[in-house]
Amino acid sequence: MKRRVLAGAITLAVIAVVAIWLVPTDRQSGEAPPPAYTLSADPVERGRQLVTLADCRSCHTAIGGKPFAGGRAIPTSFGTFFSPNITPDAATGIGRWTADDFWRALHDGYSRDGKRLYPVFPYPSYTGISRRDADAMFAYLKTLPPVAEPNRPHELAFPYNHRVLLAVWRLLFFRPGVYRSDPARGAEWNRGAYLVQAVAHCGTCHEARNALGAARSPRDGRGGGGQVLGWYAPSLTDPREAGLRSWSVADIVTLLQTGQIGSSAATPHASAMGPMAEVVYGSLQHARSEDLRAMAVYLQSLPQIAPHPASRFFAMQYTATTDTLAEGRALYARHCARCHGDNGEGRPPAAPPLAGNREVTMSPDLDPIRIVLFGGYPPGTARDPRPFGMPPYYPSLSADQIAAVLTYVRASWGNSAPAVLEDHVEADRGNPLW
């Protein structure tokens, strides 16, 4: 009990300190015209396209559950959230909701009964959606078959289980406001910005968050991605992570549509694994190519941050020993070289290169560790219905062996990334897999 009180007191103190630092001043509010946007004139079809891009189904469907009937567990550092039923069932879904209720949820973050919604529902992004588009999304959801599936209560740690604290959170971190077109940019860029920022809410995963789960101000220049479902979502503004400045628009579209892109002179190899594979599978592969193109145009234009000197300082601490590198080299020859090549050059299309592969050299090292531990396949898509996969190595390699082989790969063939610690591998074993 004492510990809980202490935790509560610390949290409130953090809130106060953060309040002084981070009171947002630059967010726009109020209604604004949506950007030039030619979707289907039929509201239900337009709604379907928007709901697909927003990937509502992914979070609002449990494994093996009926689509949109909720119940998917979303583990976070605050506890486990369970998504609600958004089928038009009157008793358990949104059957009694009006378009105004739906707008209030998307735009303002309030439920129909007036409760404040937790921002795990990405209303801080959805607030940018225009009223016309919100109405279309609602019209589409109303056409779904109703499913009687009661909502499961969230299981949150103290003090986050007290919704009243969301009043403070909102005051600090949330300003409602529909996306406003930038008149200095073209229609396609604005459409892409609207889709990326508001509808597809990419920043929900790809932006760094503070201790209370709010997006850190982009003005602090630190960059960094976010963590979601045990994976690291790389920064879209960092050339060492998932920055897309040097890519062609066509390559970005291919990555969004298939979750994979082979390496070329301008584009390093990339593949979507973990939650991003799910986004491609459930959402982006079904999006219209003109929408993906607009998103690609916007993503390519994002300003890139300069490498941060502090990370180099920390890298010094983790320089690998010669022994570790020798062990890693031997393990690599035995387990990896057959597919990834003796010099990390890869064997397309079966295995990507590891030399110059940003997924391998990224910090934090969460994703490379997970990919070696659990392997996995990129998403199956219409364009690549039979993707090649990576075998899981947790059954055959120990944590220190995985650390050694990753350390070797991250320090070879032109790669120069910090060593991977055994502790990190051990910690990642316990993360939720699905």
Binding site: G64, E278, C339, D342, Y377, P392
Partner: protein
């Protein structure tokens, strides 16, 4: 250097890179080379099991009828046609079975196991395992699995999963009804007897049922009668 690389490429993979063999490599990390299972007995053999059974399991992991996060993670984002191709690939693998396990149970328990497997128990309304799982307990095409050639631990674990609601077959789930009537000690006895059976070299699932099963099972098309 080039010569070394060429030699390596020539002597390691026996199959072309752009092949279903290469695509199935991730499965073999746990299920063993060509799906013949590793020694620990924890991950089941999948080689030679009927393709329809394997596909039903892959879809089960995706749809929540079976629970094992690692499997759900691997199959969740793949299309049915690809899963069918992988299922068929492993169904077609003909690789040697492991030798039978040595008994860890009493002779009386083994006898009870033999009765359950070969005759069933009419008083408990338990059909013989053999009546659905094939004349040689190697399964029946297209979707009933063999019960020999997997470890005793695996068999017991699966029966407990059914009992605890962590495994289900397509509805109507006849196996769930059977497990409800099967005591824990009977489950262990049947598993012990099954794990002791040597698997013949020409092991193959039966092409069809000798007699259509009496229970209705969602995973058996057309009630087991010829279409």
């Amino acid at each position: 250097m080039l010569a070394i690389a060429a030699a390596r490429a020539a002597d390691s993979p026996q199959y072309p890179l752009d092949s279903i063999d290469q695509r199935a490599q991730p499965c073999m990390a746990c299920h063993g080379k060509q799906g013949q299972a590793r020694r620990d007995g924890y991950y089941p053999r999948i080689a030679g099991k009927p393709a329809g059974y394997l596909l039903n399991q892959l879809r089960g992991f995706r749809q929540g009828r079976r629970y094992f996060p690692m499997m759900s993670y691997l199959v969740q984002l793949q299309r049915d046609d690809y899963l069918r191709e992988l299922a068929t690939y492993f169904a077609d693998q003909e690789v040697p079975y492991p030798p039978p396990e040595t008994p860890r149970v009493s002779a009386a328990t083994l006898d009870r196991g033999r009765t359950l497997v070969m005759q069933g128990d009419a008083a408990l309304h338990l059909p013989a395992c053999r009546s659905c799982h094939g004349s040689r307990l190697l399964g029946v095409e297209p979707a009933v699995p063999g019960l020999v050639g997997v470890s005793q631990d695996y068999l017991i674990a699966q029966l407990s999963n059914w009992r605890n609601g962590r495994r289900a077959a397509l509805a109507p789930d006849c196996m769930a009804q059977i497990v409800r009537r099967l005591s824990k000690s009977d489950a262990s006895a049947a598993a012990a007897f099954l794990a002791m059976q040597a698997v013949p070299a020409d092991a193959r699932a039966d092409a069809s049922f000798e007699r259509p099963p009496q229970m209705k099972c969602g995973s058996i098309p057309n009630g087991g009668r010829a279409p």
